[in-house]
């Protein structure tokens, strides 16, 4: 598993992550209005990016699984659903930590937070299906369908939630404009953080995917071994 590529990627991820942490805590200037807590932004946004990317891959691999078959697509979809779920959770947690000092509440039905929560519930359902229904090609097809439908549903969710909030403005004004990155160092920090989290995503994907592939191959080997056993019994 730990081949050269994985090791290189791990080293790269570590490097980028250190850079991102350094830039977030030391290099980047403190945002004028929100103060020190705004720095969580440099983790919050990359997490959201990774979650969205992962859920996107779930849908794409679902399409490929239904179209071409092949355990590999199912393994990829499962991997990405798990990783997406982790980062989606991080988005909610960092969002909550950020909201408390700025808006004075842990949770507000801000449109982005709400959308993230719905996504979290959606893919939680997906993972529940996989956990409860077990491993079989049939469950893999079910999961593929759910993955596709969920992703197709996301734009509708985004639009509806946004309209819902515009019509009924929150008590706490959520000026997304405050993210305005006034300083070029802020942009640089965000970019490095995005790169770091993308690399982390790739690394986690690689490791977890490899382990699922191994599990699938193991199951196939076990099947074959049983076949050989049975063939020996014929003699």
């Amino acid at each position: 598993m730990a081949n050269t590529f994985t090791r290189t990627l791990a080293a790269l991820t570590g490097l980028l992550m250190f850079a991102a942490i350094y830039m977030t805590f030391v290099f980047v200037p403190t945002e004028a209005e929100q103060g020190i807590v705004q720095r969580i932004f440099y983790f919050h946004v990359p997490c959201a990016w990774v979650a969205f990317a992962a859920f996107g891959i779930v849908a794409i691999s679902g399409i490929f699984y239904l179209w071409l078959g092949g355990q590999i697509w199912d393994d990829l979809g499962y991997t990405c659903a798990e990783i997406g779920m982790v980062f989606c959770t991080l988005v909610l947690v960092t969002g909550s930590i950020w909201a408390r000092p700025i808006w004075g509440v842990w949770w507000t039905w801000d449109s982005r937070l709400t959308t993230t929560l719905i996504l979290w519930l959606l893919y939680g359902g997906y993972l529940m299906l996989r956990a409860m229904a077990g491993d079989s090609p049939q469950v893999a097809r079910f999961a593929a369908v759910i993955g596709i439908v969920a992703a197709a549903d996301v734009p509708v969710i985004v639009v509806s939630v946004r309209l819902w909030r515009t019509i009924h403005p929150a008590v706490l004004i959520t000026k997304q404009g405050q993210h305005g990155l006034t300083d070029p160092r802020m942009v640089a920090t965000l970019l490095v953080a995005l790169a770091a989290f993308t690399a982390l995503f790739a690394l986690l994907l690689l490791i977890r995917f490899a382990s699922l592939r191994t599990r699938s191959r193991l199951a196939a080997l076990e099947r074959e071994l049983n076949l050989i056993d049975a063939a020996a019994g014929d003699l």
């Binding site: 199951a219 076990e222 099947r223 071994l225 049983n226 076949l227 049975a230 063939a231 019994g233 014929d234």
Partner: protein, 238 residues
């Protein structure tokens, strides 16, 4: 030269979890021929038929019906397939006639009213045509299921223990119906616990043992009184 097989399987492997059920099944059934698959409980007979129908996917190997992979059968070819399983595919809250009407509509049977009357007569249920299937005995349900599986005159017929739950008359009726189907060129795969003389000229019996299809006595008639003891004790549960 034989006709191109209507039902064909090559190198069929199927495991549930890691447990092998079918281990390299090859079979080919030409139109007008029958293959009788003999096996004990749990030998994998039903699994094999399900795979042949395209209801399940094999781990390895291929099933073809009328030359097409059975999982990718077009509607026109699905119309030519008839299946009888241990589930009757009948709606308990519909009457016998309504059940047949429904399947006639699905399979677009021409002149369905006449066909339904004929078939109800044939399977001895004409008196019960207006009764709901839920009130039927298991044997009556099996008779109706026979009519249900045959009413669209399929060209390939998969029958999982067609004689189960039938009285001697019913079993004779089922055998007659199968012979008629064979005579008009239908390919038949059926399963049974023991071989018997169905149609010596057209029927081949093979035994499913431990997931493999063995050549049973070539002359099925001679196997009529054979007891089929377990060839390998203790593997029936596989």
């Amino acid at each position: 030269m034989m006709d191109a097989p209507a039902i064909e399987a090559r190198g069929l492997f199927k495991s549930f979890g890691a447990a092998p059920v079918l281990r390299g099944i090859d079979l080919a059934i030409a139109p007008g021929r029958a293959l009788m698959i003999i096996g004990r409980n749990g030998a994998g007979k039903s699994t094999l038929l399900r795979l042949l129908a395209g209801l399940g996917a094999p781990n390895d190997g291929e099933v073809r019906l009328f030359g097409t992979p059975s999982r990718k059968l077009e509607a026109a070819d699905r119309r030519r397939l008839g299946m009888l399983t241990h589930q009757s595919f009948l709606y308990p809250n519909l009457t016998a006639r309504e059940n047949l009407e429904f399947y006639c509509a699905l399979y677009r049977v021409a002149d369905s009213a006449a066909a339904i009357g004929r078939w109800l007569e044939r399977v001895g249920l004409a008196r019960f045509a207006a009764e709901r299937v839920r009130a039927f005995s298991r044997g009556m349900e099996q008779r109706l299921a026979l009519a249900r599986a045959l009413i669209h005159r399929p060209d390939a017929l998969l029958m999982d223990e067609p004689f189960a739950a039938l009285d001697p008359d019913g079993a004779e009726l089922a055998a007659t119906l199968i012979r008629e189907a064979l005579a008009r060129g239908c390919a038949v795969a059926l399963t049974a616990h023991r071989a018997f003389d169905l149609d010596a000229g057209r029927c081949t019996a093979r035994e499913l043992v431990r997931g493999r299809l063995l050549d049973a006595p070539a002359n099925a008639a001679s196997a009529e009184r054979a007891e089929y003891p377990p060839a390998h004790p203790g593997v029936g549960a596989r």
